[in-house]
């Protein structure tokens, strides 16, 4: 979707503000929102692409006003309702009453599960023997598509020409995966776009932007 999350090339957000000696989390609720998101993700009712798509569907004015973990929280709440873990009414509750003897269900994430979950080395890469459509050095053009669903094709490269820099191998295709329409295995490439192709003659003639793109986003130039 052409959402506000697709920020590459936008103006008006100001200077980048760094914080010296920044803590990992800035408030306890951030810690808990982060951990709740990972713990509920461990039920595997939704995948990472679906999670990202959930956050992208936050209304744009709210998205821009929200902090990072507020967006995570928003996405988590939507997914919890969508998958029947909680109801909207329950989400409106503001009481804290979990009894100390609440028993986690067998499928709930336990401390002993963490090493396996966090050190898992397979995520989006697939072994499917799918042939690549392109090879390094090939000239390509990013498709001019505007899907209403999830996509990882940023607006700033659509219709722009680039060169395949390297082939990363076969990966899950996020556009279908986020919608529960399968993994659609295909190659992902680093595609090099000259800064001037993207931004015009004001850009440095030396600079470039490398964007990781799937076969389904590309045509031969």
């Amino acid at each position: 979707m052409n959402g506000v999350h697709d920020m590459g090339g936008m103006h008006g957000f100001g200077a980048v503000a760094r914080e010296e000696n920044e803590p990992v989390f800035h408030a306890d609720w951030e810690r808990r929102a982060f951990a709740l998101t990972l713990a509920m993700g461990a039920f595997r009712r939704w995948n990472l692409d679906r999670s990202r798509f959930a956050r992208e569907q936050m209304p744009p004015d709210e998205y821009l006003a929200a902090t990072y973990y507020e967006r995570w929280l928003w996405g988590l709440r939507e997914l919890l309702v969508e998958h029947g873990f909680v109801t909207r009414e329950e989400l409106e509750r503001r009481e804290v009453r979990a009894p100390r003897d609440a028993r986690p269900r067998p499928e709930a994430l336990r401390p002993a599960d963490l090493p396996r979950m966090l050190r898992n080395r397979r995520a989006a890469r697939l072994d499917d023997p799918v042939p690549p459509k392109f090879k390094p050095g090939d000239r390509v053009v990013a498709r001019n598509i505007h899907p209403l669903g999830h996509t990882r094709l940023p607006r700033y490269v659509r219709s722009r020409q680039g060169v395949i820099d390297r082939d990363h191998g076969v990966f899950i295709f996020p556009d279908t995966h986020a919608l529960g329409q399968g993994k659609k295995p295909q190659h992902v490439y680093s595609v090099r776009f000259a800064a001037r192709e993207l931004w015009g003659l004001e850009a440095s003639p030396r600079d470039s932007v490398y964007v990781d793109l799937w076969d389904d986003y590309l045509d031969p130039a």
Binding site: L73, V96, R105, R121, A123
Partner: protein, 227 residues
Amino acid sequence: MSGHEHEHGHEPGGHGHTHDPSHPHNAPLTEVQLRVKALESLLTEKGLVDPAALDELIDTYETRVGPRNGAKVVARAWIDPEFKRRLLENATEAIAEMGFIGRQGEDMVALENTPRVHNLVVCTLCSCYPWPVLGLPPVWYKSSPYRSRAVIDPRGVLREFDVELPDDVEVRVWDSTAELRYLVLPERPAGTEGMSEEELAALVTRDAMVGAATVKAPGGPRTGTAR
């Protein structure tokens, strides 16, 4: 519940960025604090989460996974040419040799900064970041200014990080749109020839491994506040 009962009022503003360390601990809970507490309570009550697992997840990313991991990879590459070759050829395997594997680092790519080429990493669409080697991303990396400008004005962004690049240096910006995660191998600073791997690792900053800073030799010229 969890033992994390202290609520610090300061929150990272995506904009305006107001921190208030003087915010009293007994101030009323904000809406988001209430929402998260109520949600954890609800999910615990339903048996969907084990608060002990949440504590352990938080502890992992607050104390065990962070940029010190990446700094060790960089220092090793600086002193061991064979390791550096493996790192640039297959970063996933080279980094795994050092034990740094897993979530949000399943497929790694290392990018070498040289006197001719400067690499900078961004995720314009969300905030993808190589967790096993750098930990969770800082607020600036997740912020709208960085996500919007890194691709269109990388030199201007770098200037805000006190990195001034000559015109003849090529800037390569890497937008992490897929599941590849990028680690920048910064240039080893001059004057560090006699240093041990451990001493070198101590010089390497998080920002340098995103490409937003250079690494300075100790006592060398401070051209910026590299972190």
